[in-house]
Amino acid sequence: MTRAPYLFISPFFVLYALFMLVPILVGIALSFTEWTGLGTPVWVGFRNYTELFRDPSFWTALGNTAIYTVVTMAVVLPLSLFLAMAINARGLRLRDMFRAVFFIPVVVSPIVIALVFGLFFDQQYGLVNALLRAVFGFGGIEWLTSPAWAKVVVIILVLWRWTGYLTIFFLAGLQNIPRELYEAASLDGAGDIRSFWHVTLPQMKPISAFIAVTVLVSTAQIFEEPFLLTRGGPGEATMSIAQFIYRAGFERQEFGYAAAGGVVMFLAVFVIGRMLYTSLGIGKAK
């Protein structure tokens, strides 16, 4: 055959080499140095890594990111599946409109969303506290200034922003399930709940695996939601790993340290993601 396919895929591989592979290698090299951006980097061996694991801020950021990831997997994923099943209900009118309505949050710039949520959850003037006061008689919750509540707000924001996006993937998966399977289950006397466990869930396994890995990779690098909402605050209460790296690199000019944080994150995400991909056998070339 011709050289054509190589030429067709070459732009990707050139860009991949220049802007992904080389930066990863540079990042690994940089992580063994100390460098403020001026002069030449000084080789320090594994010091950045040992410091990283002694740095309480790093553990806080890691813990916060783990909370965001686990909650997203445990809450947003099932919620999206549930929403997809509702939208997939046979004979539902305005199906396409519902898909679009729930999808719209990802279309809007995160800064717009963070701003609106910041106003909603403002302790003094916010709509949420005003509603709580009107309905329950109390409404002084420090949504954005208490470490625990601030995390809750970040999670609500993530939930609002990503549920509709994931729904469309589940919906596509549901629409791919042959109807005969449900009819057979129904003839066997299975009710809605039984057929959910025995038809829907097994049939949805491949698409769910794909979605789960996508969610893992994107939540592990969450940056915009907590950064725009509270700058990672109060203190470091909502700071994510991505913001930790951003802060080390671009606010404190500790490029070697930031690079080491990046390498640790890369290993964690890439290894877990890759293992999931291979074990579930998705994305194989035919």
């Binding site: 030429l7 067709f8 895929i9 719209i104 949050p105 701003l115 990046g262």
Partner: protein, 279 residues
């Protein structure tokens, strides 16, 4: 005997009503932002909060244009998003077609490399990439905001799925017998057949570039080159938290992305879904 799906039929109106209520709830933050952008400042922070402005004003929009180079931010964002989109669609459809319709040595390994690059977190390359660009003098917005991002693996993956579904081998073989070159075949036969997929990829790519925040925050230092998200962030970070003006700016910034989405929503949603499911 129980009619299959009988219970589903009776619950359908209930599902419709539930979805409609949750949907209204979902849209509320955006609707609230739209109404609030016409509020006076005192109204915005009044108690109890209201949805409808008591005394609607366009003053927030007027001050936005008087005090900030909003038009410039808008142009920078739009030009960058459009240029990125055009290049992305070209690069991804070419590569997706290459992976879908050719057999060649190393295909499987190359595909795996491409596919697994989706699992590389951006935060890993952000520091070294910035340093590389800064040291080579390429950290200018026009280059740094466009070139490194025009070959997203997800786009290639999506275009491979579309190519497999939409392009019959017979057409390609017939064209080859007629003596057409491979690139001519791509341009004159494949591209038109891929059109729905190209539309989906274009919207996806436009929205990504237009809404991008972290990378512009790092690369763009010059206020004259601010993109919309950076400009909004600057207003918001300025003295006195100008919620009123920034709300007006947010609404205007959201308009292009919402219009693009509404116009091409079916293509985008179906396209994303098709890319993920048919693997």
């Amino acid at each position: 005997m129980r009619r299959p799906g009988a219970s589903r039929d009776t619950s359908r109106p209930l599902i419709f009503i539930a979805l409609a209520l949750v949907g209204l709830f979902w849209l509320f933050p955006l609707v609230w932002a739209l109404f609030s952008s016409f509020k006076q400042r005192s109204d915005l922070f009044g108690y109890p909060p209201t949805l409808i402005p008591a005394d609607p004003t366009v003053l927030n929009y007027v001050s936005l244009f008087e005090r900030y180079p909003f038009v410039s931010w808008f142009l920078v964002s739009t030009v960058i998003a459009v240029v990125s989109t055009v290049i992305t669609v070209f690069v991804c459809s070419l590569a997706g077609f290459g992976f879908a319709k050719y057999e060649f040595r190393g295909k499987r390994a190359l595909f795996d490399i491409m596919f697994s690059s989706m699992a590389i977190p951006f935060a890993v390359i952000v520091v070294p990439l910035f340093i590389m660009l800064a040291k080579t003098g390429l950290a200018q917005p026009w280059f740094a905001l466009i070139v490194p991002w025009v070959a997203p693996a997800f786009g290639i993956f999506m275009m491979r799925q579309f190519s497999e579904q939409a392009i019959p081998d017979e057409i390609l073989n017939a064209a080859r017998i007629d003596g057409a070159g491979e690139f001519t075949i791509f341009r004159s036969i494949v591209a038109p057949l891929l059109r729905p997929g190209l539309g989906a990829l274009a919207v996806w790519s436009f929205l990504n570039a237009y809404n991008n925040f972290l990378w512009p925050l790092i690369v763009v230092g010059d206020p004259d080159m601010y993109t919309l998200p950076l400009g909004l962030q600057a207003i918001f970070g300025a003295e006195g938290r100008q919620y009123d003006i920034v709300l007006a700016g947010s609404i205007l910034a959201a308009i292009p992305s919402v219009i693009v989405f509404i116009a091409l929503r079916k293509q985008l949603i179906d396209g994303l879904a098709a890319g993920a499911v048919k693997s």
